[in-house]
């Protein structure tokens, strides 16, 4: 196992591997997305309360889960990069941030669009939306800190510390926002009470969640390859390696 771990650390090898994996992530992701969207929009019955508006769940929940998953992945990659001084791990952390931020924005906007028919207002200080907003601030803070260093190595290590401090605080933020919200008007009906959803409503959600994860993986491959090149001194090996994306 260690050989693989160290082999992955050598930039040309990692660069080539990521190029090979990418199609295997991209096309299944797109296929699953089509199936999931079809399942969610056509096959799933309308919700008895929210009627067809509930179909927004099929894009809101995957992007919300991705936004958190990507932050945790970013913090883990940062920790690995900091502890074992692996440039590849820092490259992964650097690539995760913008993608995670975009998923958070997506979750926020779809959440508030969904709020209009359900709560009658575009913005509601609902615990999930509020912690999603704070998560967006954490992403923006991470990217701002990373951008403020000229030297990539220093930017990597400084932002890694922030990512680790941030990930320790994410559960605290989530719990405190839940606690803060529950005091004001009692535990609000959870937007996605999973138990209430019939079977035929759930499978598209899981399919789309997997589709989003694979799609994120495919884009991450490209971004990490770019970040590897930014960190590499001698990139002579780039010339002869085939340059197909």
């Amino acid at each position: 196992m260690w050989l693989w771990f160290y082999q992955l650390a050598s930039p040309p090898h990692a660069y080539r591997l990521l190029g090979l994996w990418r199609p295997w992530l991209l096309w299944p992701a797109i296929a699953l997305m089509v199936i999931g969207v079809y399942g969610g929009l056509v096959m799933a019955p309308a919700d008895y309360q929210q009627k067809d508006a509930f179909r927004i769940i099929y894009v809101h929940v995957p992007s919300a889960s991705l936004s958190l998953m990507v932050y945790v992945m970013m913090a883990v990659a940062a920790a690995i990069g900091l502890i074992w001084r692996m440039k590849l791990a820092h490259a992964v952390a650097a690539s995760c941030a913008p993608l995670g931020a975009w998923f958070t924005v997506l979750a926020l906007v779809t959440g508030s669009i969904w709020g209009k028919p359900m709560w009658g207002t575009w913005w509601e200080w609902d615990p999930r939306l509020t912690s999603e907003l704070i998560l967006l601030f954490l992403y923006l803070g991470y990217m701002a800190l990373r951008a403020s260093f000229d030297d990539i190595q220093r930017a990597d290590r400084a932002s890694a510390i922030l990512a680790i401090v941030g990930v320790v605080n994410v559960p605290i933020v989530k719990y405190s926002v839940e606690w803060w919200n529950s005091l004001h008007q009692g535990p609000s009906i959870s937007v996605t009470s999973k138990s209430a959803i019939a079977g035929s409503m759930v499978w598209p959600l899981l399919v789309l969640l997997l589709a989003f994860v694979l799609y994120f993986g495919a884009i991450l491959c490209n971004r990490v390859r770019g970040e590897i090149l930014l960190r590499e001194r001698n990139t002579a090996w780039l010339a002869e390696s085939s340059l197909k994306s």
Binding site: D150, D151, Q153, R233
Partner: protein, 212 residues
Amino acid sequence: MPNASASGAKLEVRGLHLWRGERHLLRNVSFAVEPGELLQVAGPNGVGKTSLLRCAAGLLPVESGEIFWRHQPIAAQRDTYHSELAYLAHVNALKVDLTARENLLFGVGIRRSVTSEEIDQALARVEIPHCRDLPVRSLSAGQKRRVAIARILLTRPALWILDEPITNLDVGGIALFERCMATHLEEGGMILTAAHQSLLAGRSGVRTLELH
């Protein structure tokens, strides 16, 4: 008496490479400093003298190449290495609102307990006993440099890493500092320095490393 002559105290740098942005600043730099030796790093401005010293002191992480102290990589023994080292930078690292005595009391105190008499002796040795209770703000640049040198004398480290040590020193100050360096070398201490004028020229154990 610096315990430099104890078991094989030696600073060794092998194959040091450093980049600043796109520029390949240090290319495959290697050297060693043994007890009783002074190595002066020379070269035009911007060639990377300060960066080399900061890498040797363990301040600046190295991208490739190794640095050994007592035959062990410094990354593995950072705190013990630092406790045997004194680094004099361009800035004197003094608090201008504190007096010279207070600066030495706190500056040296965090590394080893020091008494008021020792501080007085050190200030006398660098020939500024009258500045003892003056706030550093009111001292001249040369006097501030002497307080910084007094701090090095008080911590008694085995290895001195000095970046442009004699800036702002007058002729008397330079002579005084060269005497301090000479006694440090005689006691088995080591010095790695970057300076434009050659220091302790002609003395045995003094070598120069040319960077280009």
